[in-house]
């Protein structure tokens, strides 16, 4: 009798535990589903509303924040200019800092700089915009170069930390062989280590460029935005796709709001494609 009740008790307890386990498993599935549903909803809406606006003129006309909206020609030029300039500044500095961390960073100073780089990654982009406004725009006036500097600052931590990780992963034998043949350290780095690590570094660069292209906050008071075609990155306000999406989203004109969706689609595709490429490179390297 006693053993019987114990048995049923045990199995009842087990059933309860099993149920809790199942409920929790379902909840975990739901959590993953929430993220996927959110992503799908955002992508579907941006594509559905953006594609309506895409017509040849949309890519050849300049932006307009009134009337029937216009296109994003000057904004695409601006974004391309910003991305190239910020890469020109951010990539060399980021890679060199990454090399420093990997090669000379195994001490207290290195730890400290690594920590600074990590916390730099957490600085809000709007604060970086304020900084560049104070440091550059107050002296030079609105210009695309200042915007590119802000974007470069945002790119730096990502590029340097990826470079560090990849350079550390390059096998020591390669280095030793090169040094044993009498190559100086810098040549070993330039000719042996960096080419081996290239794929990984390029992945980091692509990811950071994707992030920079979508950034808006640091552009508001560095490049200001413009409805005209400005080719000079060192003087005068310039347009950018991300900034145009922001400015057009608060427009009372419905056609301009629609144009914002078209520009958002351009931006989203650009960023997602860059992410895909980055991951494809990373995958190919691993195999």
């Amino acid at each position: 009798m006693a053993s019987g009740s114990l048995n049923s008790n045990l199995s009842g307890n087990y059933r309860r535990r099993k149920t809790v386990d199942k409920v929790m498993t379902v909840i975990a599935y739901l959590c993953a589903a929430i993220a996927i549903v959110a992503l799908t909803l955002v992508i579907i809406y941006v594509v559905a509303r953006g594609i309506n606006v895409w017509r040849p003129a949309f890519f050849t006309e300049n932006t307009a924040l009134f009337g029937d909206g216009g296109g994003i020609y000057n904004a695409m030029y601006g974004t391309a200019m910003l991305v190239l300039l910020s890469m020109a500044i951010g990539v060399p500095v980021g890679i060199m800092a990454g090399i420093y961390l990997a090669e000379f960073g195994d001490n207290r100073l290195g730890d400290f700089i690594r920590f600074v780089a990590d916390t730099m990654a957490g600085i809000p982009s709007i604060v970086v915009g304020l900084f560049v406004y104070g440091a550059l725009v107050l002296i030079m006036g609105w210009n695309a170069f200042a915007g590119a500097c802000a974007l470069a600052i945002l790119m730096l931590p990502v590029i340097s930390r990826t470079t560090e990780g990849i350079v550390r992963m390059v096998p020591g034998e390669l280095r030793e062989a090169s040094l044993a043949l009498g190559l100086p350290q810098w040549k070993t780095m330039l000719r042996i280590v960096l080419p081996t690590a290239a794929a990984g570094i390029i992945t980091g660069v692509f990811l950071s460029v994707a992030r920079a292209a979508g950034e808006t906050a640091p552009l508001i008071f560095t490049i200001l935005g413009s409805n005209f075609f400005n080719t000079n990155p060192f003087e005068g306000a310039m347009a950018a796709v991300s900034l145009y999406v922001y400015q057009a989203s608060s427009s009372p004109y419905e056609a301009v709001q629609e144009a914002a969706w078209g520009a958002a689609l351009v931006l989203m595709l650009f960023v997602l494609v860059l992410n895909f490429i980055a991951r494809a490179i990373a995958l190919r390297q691993k195999v």
Binding site: M24, A28, I34, A35, I36, R161, Q185, L272
Partner: protein, 324 residues
Amino acid sequence: MLNMLSAMLGRTTIVKEARRGNVGDIIYRVLAYAFGLSFLFLTLWIIFELAYQAIPAFQEFGFEFFWSTTWDPVAGQFGALPAIQGTLVTAFIAMALAGPIGIGIAAFLVEIAPRRVDRVVGFLVEMLAAIPSVVYGLWGIFVLAPFLRTYVEPWLIPAVGWLPFFSGPFRGYSVFTASLVLTIMILPTVAAISRNVLRAVPMEQREAMLALGSTRWEMFSQAVLPYAKGGIIGALALALGRAAGETMAVTIIIGNARRIFESVFEQGVTMASIIAANFTDASGALYRPSLFLVGFTLFLITFTINVIARLLIKATSSGPEGGV
């Protein structure tokens, strides 16, 4: 100076190396150190620049700035409390919602999903992080806000309307909508870092618990979570920092209402959004310095949160994961 430099460059002195003929190596080292130190220099410069530009506002208002609720550009009176309130409320709501969901995603990826599913879902979650903030803003204002008005408001208001922070009429452009969009935006941060932390929990920990006859949930809640606690709190803190600094989506959605809000269904302003929405048009001697002071405060807050988060994560999962 030369002594310091040569000490910095390692055990071998410059002279020794120069004698060996490796001038290139000396240049290489100097460059590497210079670029490494540039991070330090840049961070200090950012702090200095923000503080310097904010001085006029701080001289005028002092610490009163942080608890004054008046933000009146016409009268030249600036107080940051509405913005601080907005930032704290939106960031904490977002973290409270994204925290459990993000940990759930991480648990799904690490404990439940087979390798292939883990890869695909992990990739999709990362894509969620890749979409630009301004696109979320556009989506929030033209898709989510109308959706909430039409489908969620009718049953949400009767359910929670009697609570102090949920009273009053429901607006699309509101603190509530902004918090929801923030939730989606910081979800990948929580999920990705928690996933790394959970992965770092040793397999023995799980095997021992399973061998004692536990179910998967008991194993996770009693053997894995306690082990990963510090790192997961770090992930949450990092997400909180990101939510506090997030600008564009919030600026578009929250409505730039520069006063204290009594209900999350009202419009508000955050520290980041008040700068983004008002800086270019700001005129008057104290307007821009005041915005700089807000920016400086935001920097200090996010900086502190980040330092704490990094320390917590570092303590739990070791090894550089790079640029999270």
